[in-house]
């Protein structure tokens, strides 16, 4: 760690990991509820578990991105963070707001939460991923503004690199698009139309910028390849991400009451969305092959290559599977979507945050460039456990989805009748989920028991 203020990242990473564990526990609960309908009822109804599972995902990834920015920006800008105090203050605001929201979800019926938080005065609640009360949304905006001010000032007052400028662009885009969560027109088509701009223009637009810049940072640090080369790749990836991703979001507009031409725009542009992810895969492998040194933190390099590959599979290949309008006509809103959602979020955004944590952790703990051998081996085990089990979750859900399309969309059976026939896939998915949580716990153990490498190891 070159700059003291980078240490503030540790807080954010701790919160991210804690909330990640929470997300997975609620994933297991609702996975079980798929096959055991009244499990934990009425304590935690399915809709609550789902809300907690998806909202925690978003919140912990935001913590992860913020932590990554606080770690990376001082080093890229070659100066201390503009304000460590502000970063700490915003951390607690965000954590408390997030925790209160989750507690609200769990302790009272959703309608009561809406009433208590005054949703009637400025209604924004009740939409998938954006279920949080209006005041929580305001809190998120305040935190995002403060965060961007803090990071932006650091970038402006220090050295500007392509990595930091692209990261900042992605973060500003993230904050601006979130503002659409306040726009809640009464026309259902318009409501849906702009709803997609928040989380989905994130994941197939500005978050790709964040992912590419974080990946580039770790690759620069671990391979020692020239920035000039990395910068060119970054420009290319960013250009392709925006060209394909913005109009590609049209693949969400197929059957929701928008004009027919969206079937053309959405199909063509989103069919090309795998390109930026494929470029990231080539980029990562190319940089590692051309490396000028063998970095002692092998686990971080493994995560970096893993995220490039799994993001391509999950976001690219599994997205392409059901993105063409004539195919989506059958697959829309089936378990195919769930399969894609799981592998894409894991591969692209979970893994990139774990990559950064893995790279930064030894520095934050004062262990130098890497943790001891034992902790790295554990971490690499956790990588394989989580990644392989997530691939299995995806395959089981894909199987469930194919059967569901056949029975429900082609054969015309009812939704619930079909769900019962999918039970075997859901059981296998739950089993894979247990392996995933084991992998995550192993990751946490590896991180918290990590030691300084012995002298001969370090040299």
């Amino acid at each position: 760690m070159k700059y003291e203020s980078q240490a503030v990242a540790k807080l954010y990473f701790l919160a991210a990991l804690g909330l990640f564990l929470g997300q997975i526990i609620f994933g297991l609960i609702m996975g079980l509820q798929y096959v055991w309908g009244d499990f934990l009822f009425p304590l935690i109804p399915f809709n609550t578990a789902r809300m907690v599972h998806t909202n925690l995902l978003i919140v912990w990834l935001l913590f992860g991105f913020m932590g990554s920015a606080y770690y990376l920006i001082p080093e890229e800008s070659q100066r201390e963070l503009y304000s460590v105090k502000l970063a700490k203050l915003l951390f607690w605001v965000f954590l408390v707001a997030g925790a209160l929201t989750i507690v609200g979800y769990l302790l009272m019926p959703y309608a009561r939460l809406a009433e208590v938080t005054g949703n009637a005065y400025f209604p924004t609640m009740g939409r998938e991923f954006l279920e949080m009360p209006t005041i929580t949304k305001v809190g998120i905006v305040i935190v995002a503004l403060g965060f961007i001010f803090n990071v932006g000032m650091t970038v402006l007052m220090g050295r500007k690199t392509v990595v930091s400028v692209i990261l900042l662009t992605g973060l500003v885009g993230l904050a601006l698009l979130f503002l659409f969560s306040f726009y809640n027109p009464s026309n259902l088509v318009l409501d849906k139309y702009f709803w997609w701009w928040v989380v989905h223009l994130w994941v197939e637009g500005v978050w790709e910028l964040i992912m590419a810049s974080l990946l580039a940072y770790v690759l620069i640090k671990t391979t020692g390849v020239d920035r000039e080369v990395v910068d060119k790749w970054l420009y290319l990836i960013v250009a392709m991400a925006l060209i394909t991703g913005i109009l590609g979001t049209g693949h969400h507009y197929f059957w929701i009451g928008t004009p027919n031409y969206w079937q053309w725009v959405g199909s063509v542009f989103s069919a090309l969305e795998p390109i930026p992810f494929f470029l990231m895969t080539i980029f990562a492998f190319n940089m590692v092959n051309k490396r000028r040194r063998d970095h002692p933190n092998k686990a971080a390099v493994l995560w970096a290559m893993g995220t490039a590959v799994v993001a391509f599979l999950g976001a690219g290949v599994w997205g392409f599977l059901h993105t063409l309008a004539p195919i989506n006509y059958y697959t829309h809103g089936t378990q195919i979507t769930a399969a894609h959602g799981h592998l894409a979020f894991y591969g692209a955004y979970v893994m990139i945050v774990l990559t950064i944590i893995s790279y930064a952790w030894p520095h934050l703990k004062g262990h130098g460039d890497a943790n001891d051998e034992r902790s790295q081996v554990m971490e690499m085990w956790s990588f394989w456990l989580m990644s392989v089990s997530m691939v299995f979750i995806t395959l089981f859900l894909t199987g469930a989805g194919i059967l569901q399309i056949w029975l429900q969309r082609i054969d015309g059976q009812t939704f619930m009748a079909v769900q019962e026939k999918l039970a075997v896939f859901y059981w296998m998915r739950e089993a894979a989920g247990l392996v995933f949580v084991a992998g995550l716990i192993l990751y946490l153990v590896a991180m918290f028991t990590a030691k300084k490498p012995a002298l001969e190891e370090a040299s």
Binding site: K232, L236, P259, Y261, W264, S267, V268, F269, L279
Partner: protein, 203 residues
Amino acid sequence: MNKSPSNSTAEITPGYDTKREYPHGDLAVWAFIYAELLVFSVFFVSFAFARMLNPEVFVSGQLTLNPWLGMTNTILLLTSGWLAAAAVLANASGKQSSALKNLWVAILFGVGFLFVKGYEIGHHFAAGYDLDTDSFHFLYLFMGSFHFLHVVLGVGVLVILAVKVKRGDYGPDESQGLESGAAYWHMVDIVWMILFPLVYLMR
């Protein structure tokens, strides 16, 4: 410098070292060009399929277009592409003032294309056609506007190149940026060379 020029370009233009490195220009720009070509080819294939499914709509839709405007634009864009290539060759043989002249005329022709195309698209919208009229008009207007944006970007690139040539940033030994920009501009006219007959002429 290349001692034994075997390539015809090198013979025509002394000092143009074809063996220096291939492809000329920045590799990343080439990847970008191929990605762009991929996007357009997907649209061309979509156009073919949509036409196959609904030939009457496409025949009657085509009658609303003026092929002479398309022809004018073809001439403008091709000439502009040729001038950009000529600028690269002039730069390679050290004739910077000639390169600069070629670039400015190339820009002028590119802007001419934008005026004609802008008039055409504006005319269609004014006549009541829009993206939602039918699949022909969607594809015509969308591909046309999408290509239009590429011409805008291309003209912008050419302006930057012209400014840099004027500043003396390029020369026989330094042409990476110029080659990359000219290659991109050439992609824009190649796409038009397919778009024009496909949309305006083929019956």
